[in-house]
Symmetry: C2
Subunit: 146 residues, 2 copies
């Protein structure tokens, strides 16, 4: 396997052991791309006979979440999904057809939030914006289908 996995590198950098299960989770994530749920990953691992236990999968995901290598996000369906992402603050646009995700910065959002804080009287500490729609690719497909 092409062994230059950025997630593994990040774990190493953070001083965690590079164990079998962690490498497995890391490569599944990198290879899968886009967002995924814990059970999808478990399924994938099972297909490949990676011998990854459910507990370890969750532990690895927790760890990656803590290191901000992946982020947890909630799909409109109520499922919990994860997306591999950059470590800076940002938001996700999720394609509701193919699951592709893109990170975006908060263009102008900061001002909107300041305004909301002013009007509501809240001191806003954190926020979370999730956008759902169709990616460029799926827009084209939709047009062709029609």
């Amino acid at each position: 396997m092409a062994d230059s996995n950025p997630i593994v590198d990040a774990l190493d950098l953070a001083g965690y052991r590079l164990t079998g299960p962690r490498r497995a989770v890391a490569s599944l994530i990198v290879e899968h791309g886009g967002h995924f749920t814990a059970s999808q990953l478990a399924e994938l691992a099972r297909e490949r006979r990676l011998g990854l236990s459910r507990a370890s999968l969750f532990r690895a995901l927790d760890l990656l979440t803590e290191l901000r290598i992946v982020e947890r996000l909630d799909l409109p369906s109520g499922e919990h999904a994860y997306v591999p992402c950059e470590q800076a603050h940002h938001h996700h646009v999720v394609c509701s057809r193919c699951g592709r995700t893109t990170e975006v910065e908060d263009h102008g959002l900061r001002e909107a939030i300041t305004e909301i804080a002013r009007q509501s009287g809240f001191r806003v500490d954190s926020h979370r914006l999730e956008l759902f729609g169709l990616c460029r690719h799926c827009q084209v497909r939709t047009t062709l289908d029609a």
Copy 2:
């Protein structure tokens, strides 16, 4: 009991039967105010010996969600909570100390989203913004504590 419950009215208007369990859920929600989780409501119902079954509670919540009388939201902890709310599109600011919630319109958010769509190439169909912080009341308390 003061029987003018807006949730009950909305159910009636939508043509649903006004049954015991539904009235119970409606009054618990109105009286509780702010956001709540399904299990909090179940707990409350148990304390009051309302004889509300778990299944009916979930069914009622599903129904109310569908009618947009309550909205499902995801707390940073990953829990699913519900907030009673207006039926128009809006967002919530949630106080992370006392749980109070306020609805806000998307001041300037529309432009931010248009910009995001332009840059990402996505056609954004829906979005969801959740803000967490301290409400006016809790800000004061925090200041006093310090």
